[in-house]
Amino acid sequence: MPKRVRSKIARGSADLAILSLLAEKPLYGFEIARQIGERTGGTLKFTLASLYPLLYEMEKRGWVEAHWQVNAAGRDRRYYRLTPTGRRQLAPLREEWRSFFRALDDLAGVSHA
């Protein structure tokens, strides 16, 4: 079972993780955190405290936009949607992380570890 990564790497990868998820479809905060945890097998885990400041930061930068939507149970949820600006951030971010892993692999052979 993979260990949870509680480090600056996890923090640094947050932008990529959130933007990638939102590129698929609009999601609300709890669902973003749940999907990230589930889809990374628990390696990446976002709590309320780590997730929302990031979302607000992204909203401020204009990468995502939020709107309230009522669900089937009549509850309001604040959905985040990727903006065109946010979408433009995604490709360079992916490339950045690809380069990072390539460099780390060259150095430490992490992909074969």
Binding site: F30, A33, A49, Y52, Y56, E57, K60, R77, R78
Partner: protein
């Protein structure tokens, strides 16, 4: 089940977040806690451990409040200050200036009062109108969730501007004409005349709006 919204509001408000932390944030964070709690209960936990798990999402309330505040306000800080200080101050200053100009335009003469052999001119109608402008400035600042010093500064802005102008004039006058005690006394009287008394008049109008917290109203909405 705890009232999550009430809890978040209480904890974040206690930490003195600025007004930019809106009801929207409180609702969103409370909703996240509630979902975490419900998820834990659905997975078979009893109320107490489920609450504990939900609260672990927050960790340190102070850190959360700081992070949320930073994330939400860093760039909108200018907007907040503009709305709660600069704009009300400018409107108060503009209103007070127009009032003085109008007083002179319609021919209302200033009342000359002699003090220690020196004449002081008082525009009583203008001074009487200043509480209105002080009130407008402080009210506008309060409506934009300005803190008490901001409301005060907005309400007293004409007197503050006059004070700055006079403090700039004094050294210049002393430099040009040399130091005279008489000049300093005149300057002091000028300060009372154009800063002290107008400030008191403006303060009179501002006072009702210095109390009461707009943020509280917002939080209780």
């Amino acid at each position: 089940m705890p009232d999550w919204k009430k809890l978040v509001r209480k904890r974040l408000f206690k930490l003195g977040l600025a007004s930019s932390t809106t009801e929207e944030v409180i609702a969103e964070l409370a909703f996240h806690l509630e979902e975490t709690y419900q998820h834990a209960v659905t997975n078979g936990l009893t109320q107490r451990p489920a609450i504990k798990i939900a609260l672990q999402e927050v960790g340190d309330w102070h850190v959360l409040a700081t992070e949320v505040e930073r994330a939400r306000t860093e760039e909108s800080c200018m907007n907040y200050r503009t709305k709660s200080l600069w704009l009300p101050a400018l409107i108060t200053l503009f209103g007070a200036s127009i009032s003085l100009a109008a007083t002179q335009f319609i021919g209302l003469q200033p009342r000359l009062v002699w003090f220690a052999g020196m004449g002081m001119t008082f525009y009583w109608p203008w001074l009487a109108s200043l509480p209105v402008f002080g009130a407008v400035g402080a009210y506008m600042s309060r409506r934009a969730a300005g803190q008490t010093p901001m409301r005060l500064a907005a309400g007293l802005s004409p007197a503050i501007v006059m004070l700055i102008v006079m403090l700039l004039i004094l050294p210049w006058g002393l430099f040009l004409d040399g130091f005279h005690f008489f000049r300093l006394v005149r300057f002091g009287l000028g300060l009372i005349n154009w800063v002290g008394i107008p400030a008191a008049s403006l303060l009179l109008g501002s006072l009702p709006f210095l109390r009461g917290n707009n943020r509280t109203a917002e939080m209780n909405r």
